[in-house]
Every structure is written in structure tokens, then in C-alpha cells.
Subunit: 280 residues, 2 copies
């Protein structure tokens, strides 16, 4: 099987690495950045590098793993070039806009809208790692618009990386992700900005940072290009989530300002219910 | 050496456990909650349980590890009871209010205002663990008001738990901690509240939560009583930190609402400088 991975960053690079280790799989890499092409070859993430046309024409399966704004642009082109047996998968973190973009494309049935729920705060081909997807969940959206054989092939590809696939609507997916992933990134970036700003006056401030800070600010290391595109494409749901967050934050702030510990205690007791979810 | 630990929760319990394992150290536990007394004995965190008077009178070193509001109330009483050789240490997460409270106490020189920078999101005697303090930093504030022999003894106690001690002013301490610890707790609790709220409509939402969410929401499991007191006692600096955070959050929100990816990208690139601090 020939699999072409477009975009050799953390996600695409890790998928290429995983698939290339399998018997009878030949992985072709496509990336607009010469630097990424070089790093992917140096790290043996792919067997060869090709341009977009050649990579897609040769492939049985194409995986598009570029930032979500670029996926929206590339996907119609890839579906134009691909032959009638090719399966074209995108693995972007937002799904609704991308699905809408190709809704009426003549080759829509060859397309699989996927999102493997895995990642780290690092980026680029150098960040690609083995087993990134092992034991993780994968979402396929609007699978009823994809040909059954394409869903089968894509599911097998995801299974082979250790992912378990679930199905849901693209709007529902985007709304959920706004709350349980995208919002966490905004709050983490914001925390980073806040403490870096005070560091201008208080040079030693990070000496006192403990594991709690590290845990909450870790995502502030994430790639701006990737996340600017995600925030933009999931605009509507993310603003909804942010406004709910800001509402709770203002409640908290008011409790602190007015020194009503009973109020802040009540909010925290409510938040403690997260123990039900994060059990470890 | 007889060491009395007042408050047998995560911090006090872990200290008791650590100290009790050392040769020639006898650890007396004091806790207002019968349940905590029982758990501390069951887990052998302490050698015996005593009431406040007896515990303090017998001790060479007293460690107060209750919530910070309770420390403010207990500390003057403990200094009243303690004899002239006793060293009285508090290990609360805020220092300025506590230091002010005993500034003119006749036994001020026997008091050490400390804060070991260690913890987990769990609480109570059951959460006490060995090696919690190993390799961590300890802060002593206003050490110039403590007798040199008391500073020496306290530093030896902290060293024996694997802590390295640094000195700073209590205001400076509280301001720094507001940014690199207390703010992270507020944002984490708020994130928990936000997602628990949307869960009322979207029952399956946590199925999609990834490691990024877990990392940023982990602190929402923390003890409301402990943290309500910290937020209240560090009121002024925490509100300053929160307002700076809210300012950046509003900038971010505006960039997202107005779909200015160049703006959100610029904010995230600035936040990426956190890589300098969080290197792993």
C-alpha cells in the first residue's frame, strides 16, 4: 500500500513514522517547506519526498496533516487529482468548515473527515514520535457521506496505529473540542503571556514556579501557526466556550475581591467534581 | 529531637512522614479533626497525637501546616505557649499577612516564616507521601527578624527533607506566588467549572478530552478550604495577577472574534517564550 502524508509536522510526521514501520507500506512525504522535507528524510519518517501532484497520483491513501486553514485549501485540489480508488483523509483538529468546503465535490465519497485525539506541545518533523496514537481515540465525522470502502480502509489505517475510531457530526465535534481542547490552549497561552509580562519587573519570578504552573502553562509552547488556524476555524464555538469561561472567571474574581471565601469555596467545591473525570 | 506538626494534611502529613523516618526524631501530631488524627495514626505518619498545648510544650520544633487563615489564628497562641528554645515554623503558601500578625510578638525571634514549594492536587492525611519535598525549593521570609539559631535549626529541618532554602521578603514572595501558583489554580478551577457546565447539555463531552485538558484542569481537584484561604490572604496580589490575565484573555478573544489570525499568532509567538522556562 502506498500512503502519502501531506504535512510532515508533529502529527503527519508521527503517522508517517508509524506507517513506514509496517510491512508492505511505502510512505511518500509531501511538505511545502524544504527544511521539513530534509528533516523528514534525515529522521527516516518517509521513504521518499514527492511534490503534491506526484504524491497524490501514486497513493492508495492520502493523509492531509497540515494546519486546518491549509487543509481547506488543499483538500479540494487533492480530491481533484486523486483517482477513483484513492482514499483521502484529513486529520485536522476542526471538522465542520472542512466538511462544508467539499460537501458538493464530485469525489466527496472518497474523503474521510478524521481527527485523532493525540498530540504534544511540540511541533515540526523533529517532534514526530512513535506510539503517539497508541491507545488514543479517533473521530470520523459525517461518515455517511463517505463510501463504505473508504471508511473501512481509513479505519484500518487508524487501527494499525493503535487508534480506536468513533463517529460523530462535525458540528458536535467542533463544539466539544472547543471546550475540552481549544479553550485549554487559549488559557495556557494567556497564562504564559501574563507571567512573562510580570517577569519584566520581577526577574526571578520563575524560580518560584512549581509543578502546578508547569502543568497549566505547558500548552503555551504549542505552535502558533497550527493554533491560530484552529482558533479561527472554530471561531464560533470557541468564543462561546471563552465567554462561558470568562463568566466563571469574573465570578471567581468578584468572590476574591469582595473577600467572600464562602463564595470562592462554593465555586471550587463545584469544580472538584472534575475528580469524577480526571481520576488519577 | 521532638517535632510537633500541627495540621496533618498533604503538607503536614508528608513532613511528619519524612521526619519520623529519621533517627532520633519523635513526631507528635496535632489536628483538630478526629478523622485526620485517626488516619495519621493508621498510616503511621506520627508517633503520637496530642492536643495543641501539650504538643507545643513538649516540642523542640513546631511546624504549623494548617490552611493559611488558621495559621494566622494559631501562630500567636503557639508563640505564647512555646518556651524560649522552641523553634516555631509555619509552612503556609502566603507569608505577608502571617508575618504582620506576629511582627510585635515578644517571641517573634523564635518564629520562622517558611514556604516549601511542593504539593499535589490531593489533600488530607491520605494524600501524604514520602519524598514530596526532595529536590524542591523552600523560601524563608523576613529571616532577619528570626534568631540566627532558629534559622539554623529550621534550615537543617528543611535540608533533611531534601529542600534547599532561599530567602526573600514576604511581600515579594506573595506577589511572585500570586503569578506562578495561585493564578494557575484559579484558571484551572475556572476551566473545570466551564466544562462541567457544558457537560449538562453535552453528556459525552469528556470522552474527547485529551492530555492537554487533563494538564490544564488537574489543579481543579485541589482542596477548596486550603485555596479559599490562600486566595483571600493573597487577595491584593492575586487580583493584580488576575486583572493582567483577564487583559490578555480579552486581547486573545478579540483577535479570535475579529478573525485576525495575525494578532492571535503574534500573542502565541510571544507566549512561546515560555519554552525558555519550561524546557522539557
Amino acid at each position: 500500500m502506498i500512503i502519502t502524508v501531506i504535512g510532515l509536522g508533529l502529527i503527519g510526521g508521527s503517522m508517517a513514522l508509524e506507517l513506514k514501520s509496517q510491512l508492505c507500506v511505502h510512505v511518500i512525504g509531501v511538505d511545502a517547506k524544504i527544511e521539513h522535507q530534509k528533516q523528514a528524510l534525515d529522521r527516516s519518517l518517509v521513504s521518499e519526498i514527492a511534490d503534491l501532484n506526484e504524491g497524490v497520483q501514486k497513493a492508495d491513501v492520502v493523509i492531509i496533516a497540515t494546519p486546518v486553514d491549509s487543509i481547506e485549501q488543499l483538500l479540494p485540489q487533492v480530491l481533484d487529482i486523486a483517482n477513483e480508488h484513492t482514499v483521502v483523509i484529513d486529520v485536522g483538529s476542526t471538522k465542520s468548515g472542512i466538511c462544508t468546503k467539499v460537501k458538493s465535490h464530485k469525489n466527496r465519497a472518497r474523503y474521510i473527515a478524521a481527527h485523532p485525539l493525540a498530540g504534544t506541545e511540540f511541533s515540526g518533523p523533529q517532534a514526530a514520535i512513535k506510539d503517539l496514537f497508541k491507545g488514543k481515540k479517533n473521530i470520523i465525522c459525517e461518515h455517511e457521506l463517505s463510501a463504505p470502502d473508504a471508511v473501512d480502509t481509513a479505519t484500518q489505517v487508524f487501527n494499525s496505529m493503535g487508534l480506536t475510531t468513533y463517529y460523530m457530526g462535525s458540528k458536535e465535534h467542533d463544539r466539544h473540542l472547543a471546550y475540552v481542547s481549544h479553550l485549554s490552549h487559549v488559557t495556557s497561552f494567556t497564562l504564559g503571556l501574563t507571567v512573562l509580562n510580570i517577569e519584566k519587573d520581577e526577574k526571578q519570578i520563575f524560580n518560584l514556579a512549581s509543578t502546578g504552573f508547569e502543568s497549566t502553562a505547558r500548552l503555551a509552547k504549542s505552535n502558533p501557526e497550527t493554533w491560530a488556524a484552529i482558533f479561527d476555524k472554530n471561531n464560533e464555538f470557541l468564543v462561546e466556550a471563552l465567554d462561558s469561561y470568562i463568566g466563571y472567571l469574573q465570578k471567581f474574581r468578584l468572590g476574591i475581591v469582595q473577600r467572600k471565601t464562602s463564595e470562592t469555596k462554593a465555586l471550587m467545591t463545584e469544580a472538584n467534581d472534575i475528580k469524577r473525570i480526571l481520576q488519577r
